[in-house]
């Protein structure tokens, strides 16, 4: 029976940059366990002849030719940036937050 511990949920939340309170962790960990159990029950139905699927369509080798197409202008590219400096995206200090 799959079960996800409170610590694992806290770790995943940290990796996903989701700030969870102790109460939320208490609440979410058992819920996620139930969801995992439900999903696992599907594995029980699938026989050895049903391989795991990652894509809905049975396609392979969808390629494009190596041809340059027009890019956005820098103004367009930077239009959604909260802060811009020297035609670059300005972001808060990185270290201390590095994965």
């Amino acid at each position: 029976m799959p079960e996800i511990s409170r610590d694992e949920v806290a770790h995943l939340a940290d990796l996903a940059r989701i700030d969870l309170t102790a109460e939320e962790l208490d609440h979410l960990a058992p819920q996620l366990s139930v969801i995992l159990e439900s999903v696992a029950s599907i594995s029980g139905v699938a026989g050895a002849d049903v391989p795991p699927t990652s894509h809905a369509l049975p396609l392979t080798n969808v390629f494009r030719d190596d041809v340059v197409t027009p890019s956005l202008t820098p103004e367009q590219a930077l239009s959604g940036a909260p802060e811009v400096e020297s035609q670059r995206f300005s972001v808060p200090r990185i270290l201390g937050d590095e994965q």
Binding site: D66, V68, S71, E85, S86, R88, F89, S90, Q99
Partner: protein, 496 residues
């Protein structure tokens, strides 16, 4: 903070090093891995981006066929198996160099795996097992703003996404054992070998100074003879051949000091400092599961047909080893000359110089004795020095024609590096050509004889060796622009 180091010899007496090298190669495709943005190096910031490589909602990636072809060719050149079916995967992490908050990579299904290659160090061959070569995309380029200019102590960072999405191939070795004291040299030779191989394939510019070939160095030590593997560190972004050698040497000495002091090595990434030649602690290495890899749902699997793979195999260029053997025989180089040429990254440069008309030994002499020193002094790769094989051949042609001597030729190289034009233009502008005007030469010889009567008498008495002093005086008056052999002949004629 200064690290305690054990001497390299003491370290190797007590421990066996295990190396692992991860090399990232930027492919030289015209467009990015998953979108049509250009990949030109040095373009103005954020001029080569689009919704796909900026990770904007709804943008859909499509794989660049040429990048897949290059990946397969690299795999084949490294004697790898080519996957019959493989997928891309998302490597999830939060770091502003990837605006998507994940890097599209490959995880447990690399396109190429289980290969090998061989490198030579001091006449000995080392077999390097290749774990895998997989496809991924490059990240954006961050500039750290703050008092230090480095990531440490930065107030904020500025990001340019021109590089984000450029196709990368990551080539990973299995642990390389049994190199002992040669570990730094084997690491360096492997990277040099890869560079040569990739250049031959024509799949990358492999310019380390521009970051199109980047190396992470894994190193661990185990007690000598134990046959085990110790805890490894991964030193990131070691981006010159010399630094690869230095970084391995430094980490061997640092690990040995930690272990012999009874401590244990922390599994972590290390930052390499080019200026001081040391590594410093980076971050604790994330477990792979922390990246929460999962198959990329927006890209369908890649399933190279065996026909395609075999046609690519058939089109592979001559492997570096065979090529070196062929060129060595054709040029008549000794083993040492050949090794120095390869080691200096000059093989193709020498080959092209010879193709442009220079004699093999002359081509070798200029690239290795003169230009390699200049490249070393300025800290750039020989190929990036700014002198072309055609120019070297042209300078040598002027020497062969008697218009330049070696000393004057070196001044022509000064001019080439200063961007003063073609060799012929520099000779003209700097007035470097050898003076073959017999009148001017004769007058200079007469002056030298008149100024040095004692020396002239000795020569008249048959002490021909004394002529050197007069030749020196003539060369000085002619500002070096004379053929020393002709000067000698004139002196002896006049004093016989």
């Amino acid at each position: 903070m200064t690290e305690t180091l054990l001497s390299f010899d003491d370290a190797l007496a007590a421990y066996d090093p295990a190396l692992g090298l991860e090399v990232h190669v930027e492919l030289n495709t015209a467009s990015k891995m998953f979108c049509g943005c250009a990949t030109e190096f040095g373009a103005e910031p954020n001029t080569q981006t689009c919704p796909t490589c900026l990770g904007l909602p709804g943008a859909m990636p499509v794989v660049n066929a040429t990048a897949v072809e290059s990946a397969i060719r690299i795999g084949l050149a490294l004697n790898c198996e080519i996957a019959e079916w493989c997928r891309f995967a998302r490597k999830n992490y939060f770091y502003p160099d990837m605006p998507k908050n994940f890097q599209t990579s490959q995880y447990d299904e690399p396109i190429a795996f289980d290969g090998w290659t061989e490198v030579e160090v001091d006449g000995e061959t080392y077999r390097i097992e290749i774990e895998r070569a997989h496809m991924e995309e490059d990240t954006g380029k961050s500039t750290h703003v703050g008092s230090t200019g480095r990531i440490h102590g930065a107030d904020y960072s500025l990001v340019d996404y021109n590089r984000a999405g450029i196709p990368l191939i990551e080539i990973v070795t299995k642990p390389i054992l049994g190199t002992g004291e040669k570990a730094p040299l084997v690491a360096r030779a492997y990277v040099a070998h890869l560079r040569e191989l990739l250049l031959g394939l024509g799949v990358s510019d492999v310019r380390m100074e521009q970051g199109s070939l980047r190396c992470d160095v894994n190193l661990s030590l185990a007690p000598a003879g134990s046959g085990t593997l110790g805890t490894r560190t991964e030193t990131k972004n070691v981006n010159s051949l010399r630094s690869v050698e230095r970084a391995v040497r430094f980490e061997v000495q640092r690990h040995a000091a930690v272990l012999s002091g009874g401590g244990s090595v922390l599994q972590e990434t290390r930052h390499w400092h080019e200026d001081t030649g040391i590594t410093t602690s980076g971050r604790e290495k994330s477990d792979a599961e922390d990246y929460r890899y999962f198959p990329e749902p927006d890209l369908v699997p890649v399933a190279p047909s065996r026909e395609w793979v075999e046609s690519l195999r058939a089109s592979l260029p001559e492997p570096p080893r065979e090529r070196r053997a062929r060129l060595q025989a054709a040029w008549g180089f000794s083993d040492l000359e050949m090794r120095d040429t390869v080691g200096a990254g000059a093989l193709s440069l020498v080959e092209e110089t010879i193709a442009a008309g220079a004699a093999p030994q002359a081509a070798r002499k200029w690239w290795l004795a003169d230009l390699a020193r200049r490249a070393n002094d300025t800290g750039v790769e020989l190929s990036a020095l700014g002198v072309t094989p055609a120019q070297v051949a042209e300078v040598q042609a002027l020497v062969d024609a008697g218009s330049l001597n070696d000393k004057l030729a070196r001044q022509v190289f000064d001019g080439l590096l200063a961007g003063e034009g073609t060799p012929a233009e520099i000779v003209a502008a700097r007035g470097l050509a050898i003076v073959s005007d017999e009148g001017a030469l004769g007058a200079a010889v007469d002056n030298a004889i008149a100024a040095n009567p004692d020396v002239a008498d000795k020569i008249r008495d048959g002490k021909v060796a004394a002529a050197g002093a007069l030749i020196g005086a003539v060369m000085k008056e002619m500002r070096g622009q004379a053929d020393a052999n002709r000067v000698r002949e004139l002196i002896l004629e006049k004093l016989s």
